[in-house]
Subunit: 336 residues, 2 copies
């Protein structure tokens, strides 16, 4: 008989830019690390999965394989993809989750499509008007959770409040910190700053049970002035992508400087070690992926270019979320 | 007789965090660098100005001193400050400009108050609905002009189009590049991305005479995908401040790494040289200040913490703008 406590995770092996090789390699890593605590369902083209499994080293009989003939690509328009590709690995995996046959769903595919499928197939948590995605941004003293990170480009005050509530619970679970601080991203510290929606959100947050510390500015994110920083998905997406581009920009500038002479070349070569070590948490594979918060299920979505390590970390993050019963905690907080 | 071509610049010497020492030291530098091409009006408390002039080295008879008994502080609410402090250095300097007695006004004071005073005292250029401020952000191949950088937290499509038009002309004048590329900051490249206002702005920009290259994402700013990047002032302010916080964050992380051992300490010490050189343009004093575009005059506003070099660069930027007759160029572009 199977261990009844074994968590069942569905992995969309067709989603990423290097699918299914990296997905399957990541699945093997997760299985090794989790020491029999999880059961992995690989969702995708069965032939391709079997071929990839046999081409890679390691045992392959421990996986459950679920055939899905279609693939949602990065070019697909999210809502159309869900409607027209009902036999995609994304739709089939998400349906398995909605039917209770798995405890979480993980994908490195089209983020918009994963979001749409989560909302349409799993449905929203009662009391949540807009599901959200949140990302950890490296900061001085531990990471800062920024949300919404791009799911909702036009967020109202009530949505911002809900993001804060869900982000606060997610932060508590993942970073093991009770009552994390929450701030509103704004153009100044005073409560009269920002658009009308932002001012209204300030009021909602101020009156809530959250550990709200007020507004923070763009320069406060990397300073980790707050654990959870809430913003509109438009702003969040732009800040996030700007932040992700910093290490590459730095590299570009250093390369340019190193061309000025031998001393310069030497100094840059030496500086790569401390820089790489100091900025390692800018690599999205470290966190693995971002959660879709506010839907009736556990969904993790990651970068299309996720490495096997990134895929493994996504799976482990899904396990952690499923174990914590995060959605019950969200529901409880909503009625408080 | 005076050189009739001498440009007259009014400097608010009471505005900055280290006023009036840095302002007056910067004014001296500007006078030296400009070789008799400019006449400088120091606006502020006459006694304080004379005392500071005599306490610093150098000739002090070349300045025009205009007494202003009041000071607008960083804590003042912009609109109230303009109304209640009619004898502040800010209001008096701006009125001098509006009366045609000086050709430009420069301040390192309260940005919001400078913006309000510019709009109220100088008035808007005909055809411009919202004056804007634009900032150069360091990028891979030369800087990128980001605007609006915080003047308008709630910008409509028409405003975004006007920012693009003014930014394009400013970029051409300052960076000596004909027909600079213009892009709209968005959450994706497709024209269907973003809020309704953003999609409408895309349309206006696409149909305009500007060198519009489409949408860019947050990660494209440092890559310098476009010369001029247009966005809402809320987004612009947050991206700008986030960007400004990067060097400090880097320093923090490197310091932390250097504490791990002797080798680490050594490597970090060496890396400071290439890093400082590679990121020198992150220092706002290099550009000096940002222009208030769209008002009937030439106004430069800078960081409160501007160094004398920063103040000098603000003055030189004002000279450059006044010489180029930027506002005539904007008016011309508007009727095209």
């Amino acid at each position: 008989m199977e261990n009844p406590k074994k968590l069942r995770i569905a992995l969309d092996v067709m989603g990423g830019d290097f699918a299914p090789e990296r997905e399957i390699a990541g699945a093997r890593k997760a299985l090794m690390d989790s020491k029999g605590e999880i059961e992995l369902f690989l969702i995708g083209n069965e032939k391709v999965i079997r071929r990839t499994l046999s081409s890679q080293k390691g045992e392959s009989s421990q996986f459950q394989i679920v055939h899905a003939p279609q693939v949602v690509t990065m070019e697909d328009v999210p809502t159309a993809a869900i409607k027209n590709k009902r036999d995609s690995s994304l739709a089939i995996g998400m349906r398995l989750h909605s039917e209770g046959k798995v405890d979480a769903f993980v994908s490195a595919g089209n983020t918009g499509a994963v979001l749409s499928a989560s909302t349409l197939i799993l449905g929203r948590i009662k009391g949540i008007s807009r599901p959200t995605i949140g990302t950890f941004i490296p900061a001085e003293h531990g990471p800062c959770l920024l949300l919404d990170a791009g799911a909702n480009v036009d967020s109202r005050a009530q949505h911002l409040y809900e993001f804060a509530l869900m982000g606060s619970i997610y932060y508590k679970i993942i970073k093991k910190k009770e009552n994390p601080t929450v701030a509103l991203l704004n153009v100044g510290e005073e409560k009269t700053k920002g658009t009308e929606e932002i001012q209204q959100a300030y009021k909602l947050l101020f009156e809530s049970n959250l550990n709200f510390i007020g507004n923070v500015e763009g320069g406060d994110i990397l300073k980790a002035k707050a654990d959870v920083v809430v913003c509109d998905g438009f702003v969040g997406n732009i800040v996030l992508k700007f932040g992700e581009s910093v290490p590459k920009f730095l590299k570009y500038r250093l390369r340019k400087f190193s061309k000025k002479g031998l001393m310069q070349k030497l100094a840059v070569a030496i500086s790569l070690w401390p820089l790489k070590k100091s900025l390692s948490d800018f690599d999205p594979n470290e966190e693995g992926g971002v959660p879709v918060l506010g839907v009736n299920g556990v969904v993790i979505v990651g970068h299309g270019s996720s490495t096997p390590k990134g895929i493994k970390n996504m799976i482990m993050r899904a396990v952690e979320m499923a174990r914590s019963k995060i959605n019950e905690q969200i529901e409880l907080a909503l009625v408080k």
